[in-house]
Every structure is written in structure tokens, then in C-alpha cells.
Subunit: 189 residues, 4 copies
């Protein structure tokens, strides 16, 4: 494998709050990634206005076109998101709504991985299946299993919001390794 090209992934967190448990998972990804795989966080979703086709008609916001360009350049995309009210957070869905309207739609054919964390028992699972349905429309290639749904996530980080739970870290490591294979096959890299 020594001669494989590096794989460059980006990640988007669906929560905006500073103390987000999902952001904690997102921050742990680079150190859990296989050798040769980089994972860079994208932060623009907080800067996007609420989607409105009348705004779009005047031109896409820079926060949207910038994020789209970062996704297009990447070999794959990782969503790390909480579940709000049994579904996708509005703030994350709003970003997807914007990005999906671009002419050169950045999700098309893109390998996508979904992770979630929550304080509840299901770890955000309901959000994941709604997000999968959204990804059908934008023609992304969503990785199947293993799935990462971090339940009771508040007990799996330390006081600095570092993801410390060993079982969770192991599962994510295993998932990222499997996703690497999936993304390489999809991109022919």
C-alpha cells in the first residue's frame, strides 16, 4: 500500500455550539484516520443565511461556494452531527440545501460517511437515516457499515471535550479504515 496516493477527506459538524459532543468526535478524526488519510474540518455552515431562492437568484453566498469547492476537491466527506427532534439539525440541512443548488453540485458521486453522537441511548441514529435519504437525491455514495452512533456521548469525553472512550475510538478507527477502502474504490485512487 506504500505507493497509494494520499486520501484527502473533509468533515462537517452539524452542531454550532462550542461545547458540542459531535465537534469532539470531529476533532478526534484526524488522529484515528489510517496512515495516508487526512481529514480537514470545514466550518462554514454557521455563516450561511437561511436558504431562500430569492437570495440565491442574486448570487450564492461566499460561505456556500467556498464550502462547495472544498468538498469538490476532497476525496470524501464525513458528516458528524447530532440528532435534533429525531431528524437532521436544521442548521446542517440548511447548508445542504444551499450546496445542493449549485450547478456543479458538490455531493454528486462523492463518497460520504455519516457519524453521530448524542446524550441519549440511540446515539443520533434517527438523524442518520434521514440524512441517508437526503444523500440519495444529491447522488452521493454513502458508506454502509459499521455505523458510528455514539450514545451517552457525555460520558465518553474528558473535561477538555476530548474523545477518550476506547471502545468508541476503536470503532471509529475501524470505520475510517473501511471507509478509506470504499472511497478509494469509488474514486479509483
Amino acid at each position: 500500500m506504500a505507493d497509494q496516493r494520499p486520501l484527502s477527506l473533509v468533515s462537517i459538524c452539524g452542531s454550532l455550539r462550542k461545547g458540542s459532543l459531535n465537534a469532539a468526535v470531529q476533532r478526534a478524526l484526524p488522529e484515528l484516520a489510517p496512515a495516508g488519510v487526512t481529514i480537514q474540518p470545514l466550518f462554514g455552515i454557521a455563516d450561511m443565511p437561511l436558504y431562500n431562492a430569492d437570495i440565491q437568484a442574486e448570487g450564492f453566498p461566499k460561505s456556500v461556494t467556498d464550502m462547495a469547492e472544498s468538498i469538490r476537491r476532497a476525496d470524501g466527506l464525513i458528516f458528524v452531527s447530532p440528532e435534533y427532534n429525531y431528524s437532521i439539525p436544521g442548521v446542517l440541512k440548511n447548508a445542504i440545501d444551499w450546496l445542493s443548488r449549485l450547478k456543479d453540485q458538490p455531493f454528486a458521486g462523492k463518497p460520504v460517511l455519516i457519524q453521530s453522537a448524542s446524550q441519549g441511548a440511540l446515539g443520533g441514529g434517527r438523524m442518520q437515516y434521514h440524512l441517508r435519504q437526503v444523500m440519495v437525491f444529491v447522488e452521493a455514495l454513502v458508506f454502509n457499515r459499521p455505523e458510528v452512533m455514539v450514545a451517552a456521548a457525555q460520558n465518553k469525553v474528558d473535561g477538555d471535550l476530548k474523545l477518550t472512550d476506547t471502545a468508541t475510538r476503536d470503532l471509529i478507527q475501524q470505520q475510517l479504515a473501511a471507509f478509506e477502502t470504499f472511497a478509494r474504490e469509488a474514486s479509483g485512487k
Copy 2:
């Protein structure tokens, strides 16, 4: 029935653009409602910031608390929304995310009706089932059938965006009559 109390409903449109086909459906509701039923549109969702628990910690935006109060006072709530990317528009989900965090959560026990319109063949149906799942969490009482999914909606309005299609108007009228019964039973009115 002459001695029944009037039933007061509110409606929320999931699209912000001026020429929205869903807004056209929303505007038609009052004239299609049974006698004794009023339906008042609520417009605040465009004014809500992207949901962020850190903002919430400083106090709920007035747009959120105002809309919550209007919903609490109403005998029922009607969502009229497009489907974005096979799910709920981020902008509408964002409003629900805000409203759901209030202490006296306004959806609890509230009779809810869902309508959708789209230019496609399914009339926004995929959005409706995601929204139903969201309503489970917030403990709303969602009306079942008949469902209103206005397909090819661009052909069912006139040049002034007035809903003119007779079959659609008849179906909505029939649905509103059934929802009236449902909402009266739920509220004991």
C-alpha cells in the same frame, strides 16, 4: 353544530421565497376552511438565527418566543412546506429546532396537519414522513388522511400565484373539514 366554538388554527410555510407555490397553498387555506374555522399565517421563521445552544443560553430570540405563543394559543397548526433534497427544508427544521427547546414546548399535544406542494411528481411526500417523525419527538398529534401532496403545483396556480386547480381545492377543503373534527376531538372543543 351551530353552537360549536370557533376553531382557531395557524399555518407555517416552509419556503421563504416570494413566489413560493407552498405560500400559494397557504394563502388559499382561509377560504377553503369550514365555517367557524379561522387559519392565520405565521411568518417568523425567516427571522430566526441558525439554531445554536450558545445563543439559546443567552435567551431565546423574540421571533421564537412570539411564534411559540401564537402556536400555544391556536387550536391546531398547519405546516405547508416544500420538500428540499427529499426531506424537510433546513429553514423550517431550524424553526422547529428552536421552538422545541422552549420550556413550555408549543407542539406538545397540538393537533397538526401537514401539506406540501412541489413541481415534481410526488408533491413533497418524502418531506411529510420526515416531518411526521419529528412530530413524534415533540409529541404533537398529527392528522393522518387524506394527505395533501400537490404535485406539479406550478400548473395549479394562476399568474398571480392563486391556487386555482379545482381538484386540489376540493381535496384541501375535504382535508380541512376532517382536520376540524380531529382537532375538536383532541382539544375537547
Copy 3:
């Protein structure tokens, strides 16, 4: 409450195997029900043929019409079911498909409660949301929350497959009490 009429519920288990963990939950229901509420198990789903409209044209099987009659007479229906492949077991869905074709469709307006148990971490949750969608079509009235999804159910029964886990029993007790109120309001009892 002393003068309330008794409430008569029926339950259907979505698994056929003798050692079913969901059957263990189902068997525990009568002793966890509030005073004045009876819960009787229905066992016919194993006897129904695979749904085929050509068979239906020759007459509904007795297993179908019998179960339908039991559901019609009941004040509410409880599904206790595993999740198979992230959805409703085929065997349970097959029963619903048969029952839904009857002229006097037994689910219409019926208060319905959904419970699930699994050996996994989500406790059958994915099945529940699919079943909720099915219940929209047949116009049942599905109770919202609290939800009962018994995760790691193999650790919550004893050697005789009796549900012994205290927290689970308490949650079910609480849910049944809330469902009683819901079902009484729906049926005007």
C-alpha cells in the same frame, strides 16, 4: 377513576420463535398494566399465508378475519416486535397487509402502542418509525412518547424468559399508564 369502564387491549408479537425476547416483553404486559386495563395476546400471524391478492379474491383466511375481529373489539392495540434488517419483520408486515385489505379495516381510528426489544443497542428503534409510517396509511392513532425500545434485551430477562429488569419494567408501566389515558380519550371511554 373508580367508575371508569375497564379498558380492553390486545397485543401482537412480531416474532414467531419460541425463545423470542419480544414475546417475553409481551407476556409481561398484563402484570404491568394499570388497574382496570386488560391486555390479551393475539397469536394468529403465524397462520396467515403470504399475502396474495389472488388468494384474497377467493376469500380471506380465517386467521385474518379472526384477528381483525379481535382488534375491532379492543380499545387499543399494542405491537411488540423485533427489528429485522432495520425495518418491520416480514411476518408482521404480512399480517398487517392482510388485515388492511378488509372492508371494515380494523386499524382505522384504533389507538396503537409500539414497543420493541432487540439484542442490539438501539432496541429496535428503526422498526418503530417504519411501523409508524404504515399506521398512517391504515389511519391508526399511534401513541407518541415515552417510547419503549428495550436494548440488550437478552440481559433483561431471566432463564425462563421472564422480563426482570426493573428499569425496563418501570418504563413500560409508565408508558402503559400514559397509553391508557390516550386510548380513553380517543375512544371516549
Copy 4:
């Protein structure tokens, strides 16, 4: 492309009745397939018993192991199914439940295409998203778009239940061509 290996697909219909509109779609597939692509129908689902782990413990039925072997040998699988009660027909789900329990699970890594037909306006769409969720668990690779949901299917066949509607035939042809590419990439053929 002249030197490409032939691609061998199999199809499963989710309806058992003789006059099935979905069977009509299934029968049309071979003539709509691209050159070099064969599509063979599999008929075993009517012969499978209702899934029961106790039966499984005594040995898988031959109808199950035969169908599994046919799927394993194929380069891809096409489901053509009605929607029953807003979800997957029990009879089809029952077959999947059986097949998924085999040690060498036949769906794993298999390219899958979903089609549906109905007499209603949505063409079976709700079934498709439930089936997609099922396919996540069994780790199939489900094709995204274009989707084929044949609405008002009774008007798109002739008196011999031959699919005659030109627009539908064109869409299926286009979908099969895109699925061929998808399946070849997935299988490295």
C-alpha cells in the same frame, strides 16, 4: 465497449398476484436492458415460509438457499415491488429476512436497483426509501438516480399486461443504462 464482459442481473418482484403491475414491469426489463446485459427473474419468494428462527435452526428452506445462490452469482439485483401500506410488502420483506440470515449473506456488496409501480400518484415511492434502509443493514450498494416509480401503472400497460407506456419505457431504459455503469464499477467488470 465491445470487449466488455456480459453483465448478468437478476430481478425479484414483490407481488405474488398473477395480474401484478410490478410483474409487468419486471417482464419488460430484459428488452429494455442495454446490449450485453441480461436480466433473469427469480420466483422463489412465494415458496418461503414465514420467517421463524426455530425453522432456521433446523435448516434453511431450499427456496431460500436457491435464491441466495442465484443472487450471489449475479452481478446485480433489481427489486420491482409494489408499496403495501406505505412500506415494503410483507412477502418481499419476509424473503429478505430469510436471505439475510445466511452465513454467506447474498446482498453484501451487491449492486442493487429499486423500481416500483402502483395505481396511486406516488408510484410506490414510500416503499423505496424503506427498502433502501433495509439495504444498509445487509450492506448492499443501492443505485441512486434516476429513480423509477411508475404512478397510475394500470394506465401504462395493455390488456395483456405488457408495459407499453413510452415515457416509462424510456425512463427504465435510461435507468438500466446508468445502473450498468454503476454495477460494472462496483464489480470491477
